[in-house]
Symmetry: C2
Subunit: 221 residues, 2 copies
């Protein structure tokens, strides 16, 4: 990748490991942590799609809490408001993937413009980025909350374009989520799918331009 | 429910058992039929939401084929075009739930207006309804394909309203899909969730008006 490149990174699952909430789930619900965490994430994504389709936007922090409640109810769990708050707080303390910080540093050294672009509302996104110490490397933090439309709507990707002010294909968008890559590709960005769990390509006739398993290839060669 | 009522039924999972494709999957991929069928359905629904959010509509028959391909690839299956066609054809021969026909007959005897309203495109929907012998009971067959927007978009439910031409709450919408019930409720229909697999209510702040586990309560007392 050349100097002065523009990179827009998805956050959840791409820079940060969302599976790190499973440990907190396990503390509160022994033996069910992984299963609760998995359904929590599935419903979180589904609810954002549904709300986008229904035109019933609420911030991603509300979507995340709703999804948690569905997952707990589905597991026949009993829980208090205090437990719910602790589980929600785990989302502000996700672990970075091991290469994330180094890749951002290297790209910044090469004078790249670094953007994060997330479905997360600022009440979730800003504490997360701050506690991870990423703010020094980021030129822009873009949340769909500013227009109240979730990815993968064209209006959401437009937010990145309005910030970067370059032709669409000059923006390289990176996400671990195949659906997010499809949306960005449909919008006209150059896309790199960080396929961390080695999933098949989504059958949406919108294949990624680049296909990696970590962020490392961005700073290699 | 009173005479002259208007009922709009979802099709897949509500009148027909979509799990009946699992047997065909099992024939072709022994030991993996249920798992292939389950992921096929999950991706089918997800792809319809994604295409609605991206504004990239294709008919549900294409969505269904794409979802099948993803599921097969995910299961590391080898398959031929012939196998694909056989599996797709299973969607035209789904089994009715045991009470579906009787309930439609009874409601028709009571002079109810009966509508089916589906994400399915007519190339899937019409052969299915015909082979099951339902056409005699149905006043209207409505497919989102006529406006190329999937449920749960408000535009899709509007199609039913345009056909029925009554105030929204006079239309009782029935679906086994919690997300479809939420969309119909957001639009203003009276909703009855046919919660066949006894799932928790979706956490979308749009609870159903009625909550049944089969269609039978529609014709009881």
């Amino acid at each position: 990748m050349s100097a002065n490149s523009i990179f827009a990174f998805d956050v959840y699952g791409t820079l940060f490991n969302i599976q790190s909430v499973d440990a907190t789930c396990e503390e509160h619900f022994p033996g069910q942590g992984e299963s609760i965490g998995q359904l929590w994430r599935q419903k979180q994504i589904q609810y954002s799609f549904l709300r986008q389709a229904m035109g019933k936007y609420v911030p991603f922090s509300s979507v995340t809490k709703d999804a948690l409640r569905f997952s707990l109810a589905s597991h026949h769990a009993d829980w208090t408001q205090e437990t719910e708050q602790k589980l929600m707080k785990a989302y502000n303390h996700l672990s970075l993937f091991e290469e994330s910080m180094h890749v951002l540093q290297k790209l910044k050294d090469q004078s790249a413009t670094l953007i994060v672009f997330s479905n997360g509302s600022r009440d979730m996104l800003e504490p997360l980025l701050e506690q991870a110490g990423l703010n020094d490397y980021l030129d822009h933090i873009i949340s769909v909350d500013d227009i109240k439309q979730f990815k993968p709507s064209p209006a959401s990707y437009q937010l990145v374009l309005d910030t970067a002010r370059v032709p669409r294909h000059e923006i390289t968008f990176l996400s671990s989520n195949g659906w997010d890559i499809s949306g960005a590709k449909a919008f006209g960005f150059t896309t790199a799918w960080i396929n961390r769990s080695e999933q098949p390509t989504e059958e949406l006739q919108l294949p990624p331009d680049y296909h990696y398993t970590t962020l490392n290839p961005l700073i290699e060669g």
